[in-house]
């Protein structure tokens, strides 16, 4: 408890940064931080505690939280799920669920927020403290136009005429670079794209010039290229509006891109606080180090191996599969000439069939890809690119419309159930959402054993032994066999998913965003395990992900998809360092890297290319 306070006080008072790190702090993200740290904080949080009443007891969600926010400054609160980062911020404006309570102190410009009457809170919310939420689709009311919702915010706090308010709303929509704002102002949220919705959300938040803006995972629900746009917008706005910003996120890349100061939260406490450079370049607390190490990093510049592994001590083992991949790429798939490719797609076209009056939807068109035995190929693309559809087709969950798809030696086009059954002995899949991919009514042992049982590989005692063995392989105790999915954590569930996929010793594994639902630290261990298993069993893998950094860690070759088409395929380092296609270049440029200096360079480079 005391430790947390000490550190945050240290952060607030700007204790001397370790030598050599803070030396060139003058050029920090375009904010003259030297001048700013002298300004009075607009928000002063002291000993803030948030508790939740559950099952007859109070559980702490945030413990003795201390921090300050100054005007024009971005304070990032970083932590994994359950760390209390969101709830400690929502507590500021009294938006806790009804079983929550808050104590301590939070002063906005000297005015105490904790324990404020609801009528006074109404005056503060929206006008002085505004919030941008994570999911703009659900956070905007679907039955009102965005114009109405922005105007409503203005008129709730100021007596402006509808006309004036609408003018102001338009002005804000222009400010957030909404395309064609005069028309879009009368659109309903569902008529806008994800990025436009988030722009509308930001416009609504800024419309009353709030002193403090709380951005709760503002870009998590967006694709990387859209995320880059929104981050660019927020960076641009921050210079103009002079509000303090609290940025709540789990994404270290976003933090590196935006933050001036950082609080790292774990289990409700701030374990470390300091300037962005302090946290990134000389983290003190073990958890901060662990967190930074766990983040997959995109290595775009050719660097020698010693440098690569240095900042990621826990992931050193990751070097190995990359090396394997590099070999495979270098040898041009001739590594194991005796083995035929496990997946061959030629002119593959996939359609979701017509349902009722919903017309057929062509998700993938003219897709070519070959995966050799034992090779890990990353398939990268943004949402709606058709990458998951390819994965589903490869395990026979979706029929082939035209072209050819051979998996483990079986042609899946027009395959009958007997053919599918044969093909499925050689291919299996790990799904994205470990919560949904396990039957909640079956003990996990049964879920793992199902393929073995159904393919008559094992039964009875033998089956039990095989299941225990599989659990051991994914580093779970065999005693977990009789547990139900809801008793397991997300990471454990995903291990179970992997165990099930490996049950039949497949030649090809489809991994459909296997780690995107997990926290970074959990993701790191699951990726570790995956690489280890891949090395051991030498199965080929189609690793589908939206995260280039994750794909780079595991894959030797990368295929990039966009809007149902294959953009380009190539060796991992080649694609990442020397992309040929414009789309790939944009995709790579949009990924924020968890390193403030490198990210700044990338940003500037991007700005140069886009203006050029």
């Amino acid at each position: 408890m005391n430790g947390g306070r000490e550190r945050s006080v240290m952060g607030a008072s700007g204790a001397a940064p370790p030598a050599g790190v803070g030396a060139d702090s003058g050029v920090d993200s375009g904010v003259a931080s030297g001048a700013d740290s002298a300004r009075e904080p607009i928000l002063r949080v002291r000993d803030l505690n948030v508790d939740f009443y559950v099952e007859g007891e109070w559980f702490p969600a945030a413990i003795d939280v201390n921090y300050d926010v100054r005007p024009g400054e971005v304070l990032a609160i970083v932590g994994e799920s359950g760390s209390g980062k969101t709830q400690s911020s929502m507590a500021l404006i009294g938006l806790l669920p009804s079983n929550g309570r808050v104590s301590g102190s939070a002063q906005l410009d000297g005015k105490e927020l904790v324990g404020l009457r609801s009528s006074e809170l109404h005056g503060i919310r929206g006008a002085q403290i505004a919030v941008v939420f994570q999911e703009p689709m659900t956070a905007l009311n679907p039955v009102y136009t965005i114009g109405f919702q922005i105007v409503e915010t203005i008129r709730a706090h100021r007596s402006e005429s509808p006309k004036q308010a609408r003018e102001r709303a338009l002005e804000l929509l222009r400010l957030v670079d909404m395309p064609d704002p005069e028309t879009r102002i009368d659109y309903y949220p569902h008529q806008l794209s994800g990025g436009q919705r988030q722009r509308a959300m930001i416009a609504q938040a800024l419309v009353l010039d709030p002193k403090l803006l709380i951005a709760d995972e503002p870009t998590t629900a967006l694709d990387v290229t859209v995320q880059a746009e929104i981050l660019g917008l927020m960076r641009d706005l921050r210079r103009r509006i002079d509000s303090g910003i609290i940025l709540i996120t789990h994404d270290m890349g976003v933090v590196a891109d935006m933050a001036d100061r950082i609080c790292v939260m774990k289990d409700g406490r701030i374990v470390e606080a300091g300037s962005a450079r302090q946290i990134f370049y000389s983290p003190q607390h073990p958890y901060t180090k662990l967190l930074l190490a766990a983040v997959p990093k995109l290595y775009l510049e050719p660097v020698d191996d010693a440098d690569r592994s240095a900042p990621a001590p826990s992931l050193q083992s990751e070097g190995a599969p990359s090396a394997v991949g590099a070999n495979a790429a270098a040898d041009g798939l001739t590594d194991e000439p005796s083995d035929a490719p496990v997946l061959v797609a030629q002119g593959l076209t996939l359609e979701y069939p017509r349902r009722g009056r919903t017309p057929a939807f062509r998700a993938v068109e003219d897709f070519d890809l070959v995966i050799g035995a034992g090779e890990v190929v990353g398939l990268v693309g943004e949402s709606g690119s058709g990458k998951s559809t390819v994965g589903r087709a490869a395990v026979g969950l979706l029929g082939v419309h035209s072209g050819s798809l051979k998996v483990a030696g079986c042609e899946l086009r027009g395959a009958r159930s007997a053919d599918l059954r044969r093909a499925r002995e050689g291919v299996s899949i790990v799904f994205q959402d470990p919560g949904s991919s396990l039957n909640p009514r079956l003990p996990i042992g049964q879920s793992i054993g199902e393929p073995l049982l159904l393919h008559r590989v094992a039964r009875g005692k033998d089956l039990d032994a095989r299941v225990a063995d599989l659990l051991e392989q994914v580093k779970l105790p065999a005693s977990l066999r009789n547990r139900y999915p809801h008793e397991l954590s997300g990471g454990q569930r995903q291990r179970v998913g992997i165990a099930r996929a490996l049950a039949l010793k497949p030649r090809l594994l489809i991994a459909d965003e296997p780690t995107s639902a997990l926290d970074v630290s959990v993701q790191a261990t699951v990726l570790d395990l995956f690489s280890e298993l891949q090395r051991e069993h030498q199965f080929a893998c189609l690793f589908i992900s939206h995260d280039l950094a994750v794909v780079e860690m595991v894959a030797s070759r990368i295929a990039v998809m966009s809007k149902g088409h294959l953009v380009e395929v190539g060796g991992a380092s080649e694609i990442l360092r020397h992309p040929r296609e414009q789309y790939t270049k944009e995709l790579i440029a949009a990924v924020p890297v968890p390193d403030p200096d490198a990210q700044k360079d990338r940003r500037e480079a991007l700005a140069r290319t886009s203006t050029a």
Binding site: F52, Y53, V54, E55, G56, E57, W58, F59, A61, E80, S81, G82, Q87, M90, L96, P97, S98, N99, R101, Q134, P142, E217, R355, R392, V395, G396, L397, R421, R424, S428, I429, F431, Q432, D433, G435, S436, S437, L438, N439, P440, R441, L442, S447, E450, P451, L454, R483, Y484, P485, H486, E487, S489, G490, G491, R493, G497, R500, L518, D519, V522
Partner: protein
């Protein structure tokens, strides 16, 4: 009752994956399992549910629903009373009178002999529920009526559930033409008011036994169930664990029976209870109108019908059968509510301010 999953308050985005336009249906129970939350490696999360199967969790939540437990006790007591008092089939009865003999009038006017007072306790007497003008024992008649009504209720409940599940599961799982065909048929049946088919069927089996009436009426009540089961199947079949089972090589039958049905069981059980409470009201209404169980056989409905004109002189003839209908239907409704709370993970109990304050004091004392 979300409190078994403690991270909920710390995860405000839990609901974000739910369709905002999903039509809430208070009768439908589980729509979406919240296990998808993926709340990470959170210690508190696992605390309350450690080592419990889904079934045990449901049972535990059900037992916490006080209304449902009280209703359960009442219903059990009623069933025991009804089955043992005048005897039923092989079960011998302990009550001295039967429902078809006329007895000499015990008290003038056939007044009930049941007396409950603080000083003398419960006095049952010769004819606790009173007698009608010719001397029938009202207690025996009410028991017989309740037997009949319970039989019809259970029969309709089981049979209509079976039909509804089969139709709904087939339509929802296979989709396409099968679905269109089955749902058009269901639409047709729904276009016919329940009372209308009920009356027509009742007219058909006129004067029939409880058994035939129950069988006939089951064909009236299955439609709502089939729609709900279909909706449930449509959503469950898109879940990843069904895909996983398919990749593992499971046949359609196995997927339906082993993977989807167990997950739809909440919806089915909850609606089966609601269906039963509707069933007893339907049966008594038909019998009241003279299209269900008819004299000389007895149902609670035709007892009310028979004695309603005597209300001003012999109100007890009217009160008792009505009382039993209400008790049975009310208990079944409450049990259904308890089951819904138990099966529906979205239902979260917001604790009372008093309880929260008590826990806070406890925490402070520590």
């Amino acid at each position: 009752m979300r409190h078994n999953r403690t991270p909920d308050p710390m995860e405000p985005t839990l609901h974000s994956d739910r369709q905002p336009d999903a039509v809430p249906d208070f009768a439908s129970g589980v729509v979406q399992d919240d296990l998808t939350a993926g709340a990470g490696e959170n210690a508190i999360e696992l605390k309350a549910t450690e080592g419990l199967s889904q079934g045990q969790i449901v049972r535990r939540r059900f037992l916490r629903h006080r209304g449902a437990i009280v209703a359960m006790c009442f219903l059990a007591a009623t069933v025991v009373l009804v089955t043992t008092s005048i005897g039923w089939g092989p079960i011998p009865g302990w009550w001295k009178h039967d429902y078809h003999t006329t007895y000499p009038i015990a008290i003038a006017g056939g007044r009930p002999t049941l007396q409950i007072s603080f000083s003398e306790g419960v006095h049952i007497g010769e004819h606790p529920f009173g007698q009608d003008t010719v001397g029938h024992d009202m207690f025996a008649m009410t028991m017989r009526g309740a037997q009949q009504s319970l039989t019809v209720m259970v029969l309709i409940g089981l049979l209509a559930t079976l039909i509804g599940v089969i139709v709904g599961a087939t339509a929802g799982f296979f989709r396409g033409k099968v679905d269109t065909l089955l749902m058009r048929f269901t639409d047709m049946m729904i276009a016919i008011p329940v009372m209308v088919i009920g009356l027509v069927l009742g007219r058909w089996v006129n004067g029939a036994s409880a058994l035939t009436l129950g069988l006939a009426l089951a064909f009236v009540e299955w439609m709502a169930m089939s729609r709900l089961v279909r909706a449930e199947f449509l959503s469950l079949r898109e879940r990843e664990f069904v895909d996983a089972a398919r990749v593992a090589g499971a046949s359609n039958t196995r997927i339906i029976v082993k993977h989807i049905l167990p997950n739809a069981v909440g919806v089915i059980i909850v609606n089966a209870t609601l269906l039963m409470s509707a069933a007893i009201l339907l049966e008594t209404a038909l019998s009241y109108l003279g299209f269900g169980i008819a004299f000389p056989d007895i149902s609670l409905g035709n007892l009310v019908s028979e004695y309603q004109s005597a209300f001003s002189q012999r109100p007890w003839l009217f009160w008792w059968p009505g009382f039993f209908i209400i008790v049975i239907a009310l208990c079944v409704n409450f049990i259904g509510d308890g089951l819904r709370d138990a099966f529906d993970p979205r239902q979260r109990r917001i604790p009372s301010a008093r309880k929260m304050a008590r826990a806070a004091r406890k925490l402070a004392a520590r």
